[in-house]
Every structure is written in C-alpha cells, then in structure tokens.
Symmetry: C2
Subunit: 155 residues, 2 copies
C-alpha cells in the first residue's frame, strides 16, 4: 500500500542546506522561522492563534539514502533509525514542536525552528500538553542520556 | 509535488472502528497496544529499548472527507483543521506519544494508545524532552483551555 501525501506549504528558516550552524533539534534553537501555508488552506488556520506552541510535520527533502542504521549527530556509533531522529528514514517525515509567535494571514512566525530553509510542510497540529505529555514525568532517553544529561550535570 | 510514503507496520489496539469507548488522545488513555514493525525494518529498532517514551506517526486510514474546518470531539463549533487534532486533514498523519513498555523482536508493547486497531504505522521516533519540550513551560491551548483546564480546576 503506497500513500500519497502533498506539501501544504513550506518553512522558511535562516539555515541554508548543509549549513554547519544548523541546530539539530528545536530544543537547542532560538531561531525564528516563517511557516507559509498555501493560500488554499488558509481556512484551516482558524483559531490556531490561541495556541502558544504548535507541532510541525514536514518532509526531509534533503535526506539522502534510506538507512536502517545510521550514525546520529550526537554519537559516533550507528543506531537503529527508529532510535534516532536523523532524516534518512523509511518515511522521511520530520517533527518539531515550536513556539507560535504570531499569525499574519497564511504566514506563521515561529521560534525554535531547526529545519533547512524551504522545507516542505506537511501538517500543523496544536501542541496540547494534556494530550501529548500528560502523565509523562520520568523519562529514559537511552543512548542519548550519556550525550545530553551528563553534559547538563557538568559531567 | 506528490510524495509517496508507505506503512512500515501497523498498530494493534483494543479499539475497533467506530468504537465509542475510543480515547481521543493518549493523555486520556491507559490502554495497551502493540506496534508491529514489518520484519524488513527490524534492524531500525536497534537501541530503541533504552527509551521510555516514543513518538508514533501513523496513517488515519479511517478518516473520511478532507475538511478545512471541522467540529472537534471536544466542542460543537467547527475549528480550523490545523487548530484541532481530527483525522480529516489534508495529510492524514496522526501523532501519539506513548510509553514504551517492552520490545520483543519486531513487536513493541506500548501504553497510552489512542488509535484504532490495525492502524498503518509510518514512523517511530524516540521522545526526547530535551529536544521536544525543552524550555516549554507556560502553554496556551486556545479554544481547548475552556474544555480542558476549567474542568481540571473544578470549574
């Protein structure tokens, strides 16, 4: 079963292809970006302006080869593609939760963007802590714990 | 530009089509489900078992008509499709963050599932608070605030 999807707009960001300053995740980014929704979908933005954070789904159009094991940005040992966030996935769908600063017509100013300029947009969903992270307190982050949490603790 | 994607497996859940007991979001669900990854992708699960929570992307195969405004489950006034989480979206991609209980080969036991039985699976990503919700403290949830937060406060 093949499924057809289509971009509904695109994301403008300060990060050009292969930019070495590209933040690897929204949690590490203060960058502003603009989400431009094709005008035919404008009506779908109604009442989105009440949300402070949105979930962006987009297409990793710069991904290269599909690989089941891949070396992530933060480690030098390959991991399973479903244990990392790298673009070279079976379905190249990326996800970022960003701050929604302002909506002006079909243009959304967002903060915390971590995608390349002109990334094709697939979906926008409101981020709702009561839906998305309700009851999530202790989390284990596997191989990333060594890379992220030790750093935070000065280790 | 059309994009082709393909299911990489499916999700088994206790919820049959049109089940009225279906939880509307993972935050409201204690239900267990099983994510079955096609065996050809088995290698991609390597090192996923260290993560306590995962992000599931899946295909809303029970969605009906694409609508830009739609009445959400929790309100009787239609909202823009990008301000709600309803399946009838331009690209019918669903997202749930669930607890990863156990991995047995290509089968993942998860808790907090909110999808119909046999939902096509598109992607699995590790949930990483440092990436996904870092710096997110105060959130505004627009039209949902009246529906969710007043209830929590006994209002």
């Amino acid at each position: 079963m093949d499924i057809l999807i289509k971009p509904i707009g695109f994301i403008e960001s300060p990060f050009e292809k292969k930019d070495e300053d590209m933040p690897i995740q929204p949690g590490f980014s203060d960058a502003f970006g603009t989400v431009i929704v094709n005008s035919e979908y404008l009506e779908g933005l109604s009442e989105l302006d009440g949300f402070s954070h949105i979930i962006l789904l987009y297409w990793f159009d710069q991904a290269t080869e599909e690989k089941l094991k891949f070396q992530p940005y933060l480690d030098d040992v390959p991991k399973g593609i479903f244990a990392i966030r790298h673009p070279n996935r079976p379905n190249r769908i990326g996800l970022s939760i960003v701050q929604l600063v302002k909506i002006d017509g079909n243009k959304l100013l967002v903060k915390g963007i971590d995608v390349f300029n002109n990334t094709p947009l697939l979906d926008i969903k409101p981020f709702v802590p009561e839906f998305d992270i309700h009851g999530i307190e202790d989390t284990q982050i596997g191989w990333l714990a060594d890379k992220l949490r030790k750093k935070e603790n000065g280790g």
